[in-house]
């Protein structure tokens, strides 16, 4: 085989493998926030670990070693964030830079926003804002747009 083609082939294989490479991140955290439309803000203190494993197709996350792993399909991925959809159609937002995971669930007519991962004040700030958007008749897509905007700040 032509040596040039050999090199090109090696580079192509290397790029394909690295672009598909799985990344696994574990973040210790001590506060987990939940903001329920009906019951308000709830903070749970503890010694937790958020483990997120992702590639271009799948995002797996586990809030603590005691809970099962949630497997989601990646919908959108940038170098700053990942949006994935769970089996029950919940949108999961993971901020890669801030190592924070957010999602919104709906039970009958009431929404609950969840925020877990690094930090405390930012999680509280963002889950509060997520529910504020819902209270102001915004859609789940608007909530995701808000999280994207926050994750895109490079500081």
């Amino acid at each position: 085989m032509n040596p040039r083609i050999k090199i090109l082939l090696i580079v192509f294989i290397f790029l394909s493998v690295t672009s598909y490479a799985q990344k696994k991140e574990s973040t210790g955290y001590s506060n987990y926030f939940e903001y329920d439309q009906e019951y308000g803000l709830h903070k749970e203190k503890g010694d937790y670990t958020l483990t997120v494993e992702y590639d271009n197709d799948t995002l797996k996350w586990q809030a603590d070693n005691n809970f099962s792993t949630n497997v989601c399909t990646v919908d959108q991925k940038t170098d700053k964030y990942i949006i994935a959809i769970s089996k029950d159609s919940t949108s999961i937002f993971y901020s890669i830079a801030d190592k924070q995971l957010f999602y919104l669930t709906q039970w009958e007519t009431s929404y609950t926003a969840y925020g877990l991962g690094k930090g405390s004040l930012a999680l509280r700030e963002l889950v509060t804002h997520m529910i504020r958007l819902i209270n102001n008749s915004k859609t789940e897509e608007d909530v995701i747009q808000f999280l994207i905007q926050q994750a895109e700040y490079d500081f």
Partner: protein
């Protein structure tokens, strides 16, 4: 021996090159409380303000004998620095040689500012708290300060 002397001298040169210091001053500290008042503190006489930074840390103090407040830099340009201290953002405006920061006390935000141009500092500290009262995030407030600094050019 010669090599070690070179290494030491090179390290000192690198350190002095990467570390920057700004001596500034302020006449009043400006402070606003969420859903509260804005006030000026300091008596209106000239007081020192020291700002130091390298590529990792922003340090600032009003009193060099009390030591510096050390913050982790998140974004740095020739005109400004965005830094974090215990999840609260600190902003150094290098054009105006001023410092702004957000505090969170009893579940409410507070904003502070120090710098030589009292009018600019007062306006920004007031604008920062208004943004937080209107449910902006700390990051939104930092972006506002960046936009202000850049727009001044």
């Amino acid at each position: 021996m010669r090599l070690s002397a070179f290494v030491i001298s090179f390290s000192i040169s690198c350190y002095s090159y990467s570390q920057s210091a700004i001596k500034s001053h302020y006449t009043n500290a400006y402070h606003c409380k969420q859903e509260g008042e804005c006030n000026a503190y300091g008596g209106g006489y000239k007081q020192d303000l020291f700002i130091e930074f390298d590529e990792n840390q922003l340090k600032w103090t009003k009193d060099i004998f009390q030591g510096f407040t050390v913050c982790e830099i998140r974004k740095e340009s020739e005109k400004y620095i965005v830094a974090l201290l215990d999840e609260l953002y600190v902003y150094a405006d290098l054009n105006n040689k001023s410092i702004y920061y957000i505090d969170f006390v009893h579940d409410k935000y507070q904003t502070w500012g120090y710098g030589p141009d009292t009018s600019i500092v007062n306006n920004r500290v007031t604008a920062m708290i208004k943004m937080l009262e209107n449910h902006a995030t700390q990051k939104d407030v930092m972006q506002f300060l960046i936009d202000q600094t850049v727009a001044e050019e």
